[in-house]
Structure formats: structure tokens, C-alpha cells
């Protein structure tokens, strides 16, 4: 990064336009990616933008194999997944909110499906989630856990992301329409090498998401690596 660049220039230089699936952190820029055997935890309330982000992580795996979304509320819209680039024939949606069956169903899926997005139902124990995460690592299944009413427990996810804020653009007191949003996310976990960092993701409604690196990487009280 050019230290003398203005914030706007820095943004232009560092913004990596990438498909959402490649939001993985590397030495060059913050990028995320759902790799085999990795667990990504997404924590935040409805409306924080994490459902769409989680679905977008399935895009790349869906190019070669079926992917599954486990829906606990019956609200998940596959149209959003299609918009993110997941082919309709490659996505299966499983509706299950029973806390006793959910771990069994997810364990069965981990045994055969390579990439899964799963919402956490109420009442599933942390211990069950840790077992499932261990199973996903062993079976080399990419698993995205979405906590809605509760955060994904610490230690479960290789990369833990929590929603910090969201800003919508395109509307103005009755005019325009929603076009783009910018999410502020807090990333932590092993994938971050123990450093908690803030990243910003821009979503314009297509299957491309701009991950803006270097803009807000300073975390409270720690130096950004």
C-alpha cells in the first residue's frame, strides 16, 4: 500500500473486486473463502446481511457439486442464492428447526455434501456444534454456520465473522431504490491468526462483492497485521 495515497486512492488501489466466495484473508488483502474442512461462523441478527454473505460462500463449490442450505425458519429464499451465482439445480434446501434432529441431519450432510450453509436453531448445545465442526474438519466439508438469535460459540469456527453494521445506498426519503450495501464485519479466529480485524464488504446485488481491504483494518487496541 502506498502510504502517501489519499483514502480514496487507497480504496481504489486496495479494493479487490472478487467473487464473494473468495473472501479469504491472505497476506495481500482480506479475502474470504470457504475451503474444504473449514468452518465459517456468521453471527448477527436478521437484516445484518449475513444470510446473503453466507450463501455467496457456496457459489464457487456449487460450480462442481451440489450444495445445501439448512433453513430453520422456512424463510430462506433460493432466489437470493441464484442471484449470487448458485445454479438452481445445485442447491437443495432442508427445513429443520428441531434441535434434536438438526445435529443428526447436519452430521449426515457433512458425510456427503462438500459445502453447507446451516442456520443454528435455538437449543442446540455448544458441545454438539463443536462435534459437528470436528466432523466437518475430518470429512473436509466446508461449513458455514449462521447464528441468528445467538452467536456461533467461540472455538467452533475457523473464521468467525460478526456483523458490526450495515449501510444501504440507493434510497433517499421516498426516492430511488435499494442498490448497494456496505457491511462492516468483525473477523476473528484461527484464519485471522488470532488478530481481530474489521473488514468491509460491498454488495451491489450481483454475484460480485467488493471486499474493501485496508480501509478499516484497525481493530480496537491492536495493530492490524
Amino acid at each position: 500500500m502506498n502510504a502517501s495515497a489519499s483514502p480514496i486512492d487507497a480504496r481504489r488501489i486496495l479494493a479487490e473486486q472478487i467473487a464473494t466466495h473468495t473472501i479469504t484473508l491472505t497476506d495481500r488483502a482480506e479475502l474470504l473463502q470457504l475451503e474444504p474442512g473449514r468452518v465459517v461462523g456468521l453471527s448477527g441478527p436478521d437484516g445484518s446481511g449475513l444470510t446473503r454473505l453466507g450463501l455467496s460462500l457456496l457459489r464457487e463449490p456449487a460450480r462442481s457439486a451440489p450444495v445445501v442450505a439448512v433453513d430453520t425458519r422456512g424463510w430462506l429464499s433460493p432466489a437470493a442464492a441464484w442471484e449470487m451465482g448458485i445454479p438452481p439445480g445445485r442447491l437443495a434446501v432442508i427445513r429443520c428447526d428441531d434441535r434434536r434432529i438438526w445435529p443428526q441431519a447436519l452430521a449426515a450432510l457433512i458425510g456427503g455434501v462438500r459445502s453447507i450453509y446451516a442456520e443454528l436453531p435455538a437449543g442446540v448445545t455448544d458441545q454438539a456444534l463443536r462435534r459437528l465442526a470436528a466432523l466437518a474438519r475430518r470429512e473436509r466439508t466446508g461449513l458455514v454456520l449462521r447464528g441468528v438469535d445467538r452467536p456461533v460459540p467461540s472455538g467452533v469456527a475457523h473464521l468467525a465473522i460478526s456483523a458490526e453494521g450495515i449501510e444501504w445506498r440507493g434510497v433517499d426519503q421516498g426516492h430511488g431504490r435499494l442498490t448497494t450495501r456496505q457491511m462492516s464485519l468483525l473477523a476473528s479466529g484461527k484464519a485471522m491468526r488470532g488478530i481481530e480485524r474489521r473488514i468491509e464488504v460491498e454488495d451491489d446485488g450481483t454475484n460480485l462483492v467488493r471486499v474493501v481491504g485496508g480501509l478499516a483494518t484497525a481493530s480496537p487496541g491492536r495493530a492490524a497485521g
Binding site: 441478527p45 436478521d46 437484516g47 445484518s48 446481511g49 449475513l50 444470510t51 446473503r52 450463501l55 460450480r63 462442481s64 457439486a65 451440489p66 445445501v68 425458519r73 422456512g74 424463510w75 430462506l76 429464499s77 433460493p78 432466489a79 437470493a80 441464484w82 442471484e83 438452481p88 439445480g89 442447491l91 437443495a92 434446501v93 432442508i94 427445513r95 429443520c96 428441531d98 434432529i101 443428526q104 441431519a105 449426515a108 450432510l109 458425510g111 456427503g112 455434501v113 462438500r114 450495515i166 444501504w168 440507493g170 434510497v171 433517499d172 426519503q173 421516498g174 426516492h175 430511488g176 431504490r177 435499494l178 442498490t179 450495501r181 454488495d203 451491489d204 446485488g205 450481483t206
Partner: protein, 457 residues
């Protein structure tokens, strides 16, 4: 009786009124205004046909069911045992004792089928020379309407005329369909390439609790059919004949071979396995329920589907198995697939179906749908639009109630009027996109009621 809006069978009274097989349903209804119209039920037909299959099977083993009502029997091995094809056929006719049965005997399955079709009820049509017999048959016998129309336009009216043309010329002009038609016309149907059956391609499943309920049987049939076709596809092959074997709780084993002129697809096979298992279950053929199911290809050919360059077939097979297990855990209705459909609202643009079920014809996705909600699509769409509290100030939303607290509206867009289907009593509504500190929502306003259409999550 109708199938896909075409008459497939008619009783004597209907025939006397002018109804013929193949006629459009509406035409039949016009000729017989008081007639009872039934939808075809292949599973029930299989059940009714099962005793016929068993009788023939008792005389000549290894019969192959082509469709309910149609049976293919290889009598090559039985000729020496019984002393000639005349004796075999007479015995079958005698045991069936049905004046409507029609039998064709020929050198190949296609010619035998045509011979049976041309035989009078209660008679046998022996074909001495397949080539001569086929040469005289009308070109429509190949059962491909588009191709037949082109052949007729080119002046090819019989199978003989078709088979006399150079095969490479037909293949060049008409591709695989033409090649297949030429092979049929030349009496080569059923000669699948001698590709070895891949080892371990059989699929079977054992059940701790015997399958008694038809719903469970159907689910098991579908899961196993998908597994077998997946395994065959992984080997780059496809099967024309599949053996279905079921073991009853009492230890009794039943098996049946089903044949298809085209390579079996997962859906085709699932359908036929389901028909067969239902027939066995309802006719007490598997007493005590099914404890084991096995599907194995009786032959395979290299004319399977072309694998996609980026497809990971092994992953697809593993996923199929995993989803079948999950179906057993959460229920068949909870494992879903969706396909794009036409509509103006986010919920309308998704057509749900249970996984493994055939695709319905969706509304045209490509139609204009004026007034459709633009992208991005809400990631969460409640199936039953719940009402939400909104406070207004001079026509502008100022607060939204989320659960028990009111949050201020930061920004908003709308209204967009959606004209309802007045002929169905649907009211006109106004749609708003409302942005709060807790996220963005798509709402519709009908008078004083505000309903949540989607959450931009």
C-alpha cells in the same frame, strides 16, 4: 382413460361413439359428453399386470417388463426345453386364457413389439424374417414425431426405405436420433454395446423396520434409483435393463427386470421401481413388508450421458446419498429443491418441489413481469406475510416495530403500486423498501395493514 391430455384407452361404448386411442381429451369429451374420464395410473396398471407377468415367468424365466401391459420374453433358452416356439407360445396363451392377449414372435425386440401390435386379439403373429417384416412397416413406428414428419417430407414412408439409406448420411443429417431410428429400422434395437458392467455398481439397502407403508416404499425406491443412476453415470455408462429385487420380511425374494428403449434416467427408473414395489406390496407379494431392496443393471451401454467438464460426479453421488439419509431423518417434505418461475414478488419467483420429484412446468421466467420487485432480492421471504407495525407521519414511514421495540426509519423508497388480480379479489397494494438501523425490509401496504414481504439479510 387419458394421459397427458391424450386418450390412451377407451371401452367399447366409447369406441362405438368414435373415440380412438391417441385422440385429444377434449375431442373425446365432445364425442362422449356423459363419459367418465379417468387419469392413467401406471402403478395400478402394474398391479393389475402383475399376475400376467407371474404366469409368463412361470413358463419362461427372465421376463422383462417394458411398460404395464407390455412384456418382452427371451424364448431362446426355452425353445430346446419345450421343443419349439409354437409350443412355448401356445402354453403361454393357454395359461393366460385371455381373449385379448396379443403376442408377436420375432428375432428382435422391436420387431416382436410391432408384430404383437399388429396381431389380432387372442392370436400370435410369427415373424419369419425380421428385415422383410420391418421393411413393410410404416415409418411412424419409430415413435419420434418430429423425425417422422421430416422423413415423410423427404418421401421416406417405410422402415425399409429408411434402412436402405446409408447410415453415415442419416447420422450426419439427423444426429443421434436419426442413428437410433436407422438402427431400429434395420432390426438392431436392443443390441447394447458389450461394455462390461462396472464392478460394485449394484445398489442395495437393508431396512431394520420392514417397509410396509407405500409412502416409505416410494421414498426408498426413489433414493435407490438415484444412487444406481449416479453410480452408472460415474462410470460413464447407462443401463437399458434394470433388475429390481425385493426381499420380504419372511425371507421371500421377488425380482423383476424392467426394460427401456432409451437409457434409464433417475426419474424414469424411480418411477418404474415405484410401480413395481407398489404392485408387490399391494398384491401381498412381499409378506410382512420389504426388508431389503436391490437394483442392478442387467446390461449397460456406452451411450450414457456426457459428463460435464466441471462436474464432480463422485461429489454428486455422495450428496445424493447424504440427502437421502436426511430425507429419512427430517421427512420427505422438508428436503426441497427450487426452480426459477415467473412472478412479480420475491415469493412468486420461486417454485418449490420436494427433492426428486419431477419438475412442473413453471410460469415463464423470461416474461416481462412489469412491476416486478427489482434486484437485489430479499434473502429472507416469509411464506405467510406477517403484519408489522409502522408509524407514519404525513404519508412517510417514521418508525417500524421489530419484535417489541420501535426503531426509527433511516430511509425509505416507494410506494410502488402493484395492481392486484381483481378477478381473483386481490387488492392493489403499495410496496415500500424501508431501511432501519436493524436492516432493510420490503413491505406492502394494503389500507391500514402493513405486511412484511422480505428481509434484505
Amino acid at each position: 382413460m387419458v394421459d397427458d391430455r391424450r386418450v390412451v384407452a377407451a371401452n367399447r361404448a366409447a369406441r362405438q361413439a368414435g373415440v380412438v386411442v391417441g385422440m385429444a381429451r377434449r375431442e373425446g369429451e365432445a364425442l362422449c359428453p356423459g363419459g367418465v374420464i379417468l387419469d392413467r395410473d401406471p402403478a395400478r396398471e402394474t398391479l393389475r399386470f402383475e399376475p400376467v407377468v407371474q404366469i409368463v415367468e412361470a413358463i419362461v424365466p427372465r421376463v422383462e417388463v417394458v411398460a404395464p401391459g407390455s412384456l418382452l420374453v427371451d424364448i431362446t433358452g426355452a425353445l430346446r426345453y419345450y421343443g419349439g416356439e409354437q409350443v412355448v407360445v401356445e402354453r403361454i396363451m393357454e395359461r393366460l386364457a385371455d381373449p385379448g392377449v396379443r403376442i408377436g414372435v420375432a428375432g428382435g425386440p422391436f420387431a416382436a413389439r410391432l408384430a404383437a401390435g399388429s396381431a389380432a386379439p387372442g392370436t400370435v403373429h410369427f415373424v419369419d424374417d425380421d428385415h422383410a417384416f420391418l421393411a413393410s412397416q410404416d415409418v411412424s413406428s419409430i415413435a419420434n414425431e418430429d423425425l417422422v414428419a421430416i422423413f415423410r417430407w423427404l418421401g421416406i414412408g417405410t422402415l425399409g426405405a429408411l434402412s436402405s439409406l446409408p447410415r453415415h448420411a442419416i447420422a450426419t443429417r439427423f444426429g443421434n436420433d436419426g442413428l437410433r431410428a436407422h438402427r431400429l429400422a434395420s432390426g438392431e434395437e436392443g443390441r447394447v454395446s458389450a461394455r462390461p458392467i462396472p464392478p460394485d455398481v449394484d445398489v442395495d439397502e437393508q431396512y431394520e423396520e420392514p417397509l410396509v407403508l407405500l409412502e416409505h416404499v416410494g421414498f426408498a425406491a426413489r433414493a435407490l434409483a438415484h444412487r444406481l443412476i449416479g453410480a452408472l453415470a460415474a462410470a460413464g455408462t447407462a443401463a437399458h435393463r434394470i433388475e429390481v429385487e425385493a426381499t420380504a420380511a419372511t425371507g421371500e425374494r421377488r425380482s423383476r427386470v424392467w426394460r427401456s428403449k432409451d437409457p434409464f434416467t433417475a426419474e424414469m427408473l424411480a418411477e418404474r421401481v415405484w410401480w413395481q414395489l407398489r404392485a408387490w406390496t399391494e398384491s401381498e407379494g412381499v409378506p410382512g413388508g420389504i426388508i431389503r431392496l436391490r437394483l442392478s443393471p442387467a446390461d449397460v451401454s456406452g451411450t450414457g450421458r456426457q459428463l460435464g467438464f466441471f462436474e464432480d460426479t463422485v461429489a454428486e453421488i455422495e450428496a445424493e446419498r447424504a440427502l437421502a439419509r436426511v430425507q429419512a431423518l427430517v421427512g420427505h417434505d422438508q428436503v426441497l429443491e427450487a426452480e426459477p418461475a415467473g412472478g412479480r414478488e420475491p415469493g412468486e419467483r420461486v417454485r418449490w418441489r420436494r427433492r426428486g420429484e419431477p419438475t412442473d412446468l413453471p410460469q415463464s421466467e423470461g416474461a416481462p413481469w412489469p412491476g416486478a420487485t427489482p434486484a437485489p432480492t430479499p434473502a429472507l421471504v416469509p411464506p405467510h406475510r406477517p403484519s408489522v407495525g409502522v408509524r407514519w407521519d404525513d404519508g412517510m414511514p417514521v418508525q417500524v416495530r421489530l419484535r417489541s421495540r420501535w426503531v426509527p426509519v433511516l430511509n425509505w423508497a416507494g410506494p410502488w403500486r402493484r395492481t392486484g388480480r381483481w378477478w381473483e379479489g386481490q387488492p392493489d397494494v403499495d410496496r415500500y423498501q424501508i431501511v432501519t438501523s436493524a436492516g432493510a425490509f420490503l413491505c406492502e401496504v394494503d389500507g391500514d395493514t402493513v405486511r412484511l414481504v422480505g428481509v434484505y439479510d
